[in-house]
């Protein structure tokens, strides 16, 4: 949702709106995720904004993915031929209706593969949350490994779990792609 809003803002004909979006994307893409995570969790409290580890992680990851996904959605929207907008206009659709009924359904087909990429990256990036004490998958493995020294077994298991989650997502992706491609000649 954040990504869609940013993508639309970036495409806006209003210069101020599109510049804000451009700035946001440039910040997100220009700084490491780990730094963003630390800023939300460790640096914001200095300004009186104290956030628990879990919500902090959720906020940082959302802002990060929002930036990347916005660019994917923007390029997907731009990939739809201008004639589709014009045809929608000539059957009297407003901008919002044309976007929702005509453009986004077609753009989603284009956007699914790269968005899935981003989503799968996100799953693996959640391991970074261990650094701000969120007990996610990797952290759990670390905690278990510390007293037992069974690094290979435990981190290996963690790796397998990540792999399984990503496999499930990939499967979901191909199902979705298949569904969205029903109107395309093969």
């Amino acid at each position: 949702m954040l990504a869609l809003a940013v993508a639309l803002a970036r495409l806006s004909s209003k210069l101020a709106v599109s510049n804000v979006a451009r700035f946001y994307i440039s910040i997100i893409r220009g700084t490491p995720l780990l730094v963003q995570l630390f800023i939300v969790f460790y640096a914001l409290p200095e300004f009186g904004v104290k956030i628990d580890p879990f919500p902090a992680a959720v906020i940082a990851f959302s802002l990060n993915v929002g930036g990347y996904a916005a660019e994917i959605i923007r390029s997907a929207i731009l990939s739809i031929p201008k004639g589709q907008w014009e045809a929608a206009e000539t059957i009297r659709m407003t901008y919002a209706t044309a976007l929702r009924r005509i453009i986004l359904p077609q753009a989603s087909r284009v956007a699914v593969p790269p968005l899935s990429n981003t989503l799968i990256s996100l799953v693996k990036d959640t391991s970074l949350a261990s650094t701000i004490l969120v007990t996610e998958l990797l952290r759990t493995a670390q905690v278990a490994a510390a007293p037992t020294f069974e690094f290979f077994a435990l981190y290996g298991t963690a790796a397998v779990y990540y792999r399984i989650i990503c496999l499930v997502l990939s499967f979901g992706q191909s199902r979705l792609e298949h569904r969205l491609e029903r109107y395309v000649a093969r």
């Binding site: 004639g83 589709q84 014009e86 206009e89 000539t90 059957i91 009297r92 009924r101 077609q106 109107y183």
Partner: protein, 251 residues
């Protein structure tokens, strides 16, 4: 004396430095077919798009159906929408919605925009598809149709909204030669039904058959207008004669 569906006066449009329309005036009586012919880059497509505000003119007054706009004044989005609602457009490259079936392409406008009841809209759309000879294709996606069939769905989509005027932008230019006929005869069939049509075309034969009025446009102005027997059959302007000669005897 029939009323005029389109009255255009002094329409001007420039893209940057390039003046495309340099003061075009004409009228289209209700229930008549007007074809616009002329060399490429003469401004005929821009003129058609001005009638639909896909390209908004810089100046001039145009009335389409019940809505008159003076483009030398600032016009609001709302005014443009009402102006646009007077006409339907058939594109050169059909621009059907690829993710919707033939039937959905036709029903979308009436359902979503006009919010008319579904069963009424669908009955009407099926009837329209039957008229364009595609009753059995209603549930096919555009990619499953031939170019000519796609264009005929495009025509059905444009008239489904019951516009006051139907605009055709070179409806056969993107088609294989053997498919041109089916689309043109489709349009010829529509003419006696009382539709008011403005058709930009390169098909001179078709233009002389279907039209009540022919506009010959060159260099952004109307050089000649009148019934096809005059403009095509016996052109007064040297420029028109040259153009027709080149089209009718290309070799």
């Amino acid at each position: 004396m029939t009323e005029d569906r389109i009255v255009a006066q002094g329409v001007e449009k420039a893209f940057g430095e390039n003046e495309v329309l340099k003061g075009i005036s004409f009228t289209v009586p209700a229930g008549s077919a007007t074809t616009v012919i002329g060399p490429s880059d003469s401004g005929k497509t821009t003129l058609l798009r001005a009638l639909n505000a896909l390209d908004v003119p810089d100046s001039g007054v145009i009335r389409v159906g019940d809505v008159e706009l003076d483009f030398s004044q600032p016009v609001s989005k709302d005014q443009l929408l009402r102006y646009r609602a007077q006409s339907g457009m058939v594109f050169q490259s059909h621009n059907l919605f690829p993710h919707k079936t033939a039937l959905q392409n036709v029903t979308d406008g009436p359902l979503i925009v006009q919010k008319r009841p579904r069963d009424e809209v669908e009955t009407e759309a099926v009837e329209l598809l039957r008229k364009v000879g595609l009753a059995d294709k209603r549930d096919q996606y555009p990619y499953q149709l031939s170019g000519g069939q796609q264009q005929r769905v495009g025509i059905a989509r444009a008239v489904a909204l019951r516009p006051k005027v139907v605009l055709f932008d070179e409806p056969t230019s993107a088609l294989d030669p053997e498919l041109v006929g089916e689309v043109l005869s489709m349009i010829t069939d529509l003419a006696p039904e009382g539709w008011t049509m403005v058709i930009v075309t390169h098909e001179i034969q078709f233009a002389s058959q279907v039209s009540d009025q022919v506009l010959f446009i060159d260099g952004g102005v109307v050089l000649e207008k009148g019934p096809p027997a005059e403009v095509i059959g016996d052109p007064k302007e040297e420029r028109t004669r040259q153009f027709l000669d080149r089209i009718l005897h290309p070799i």
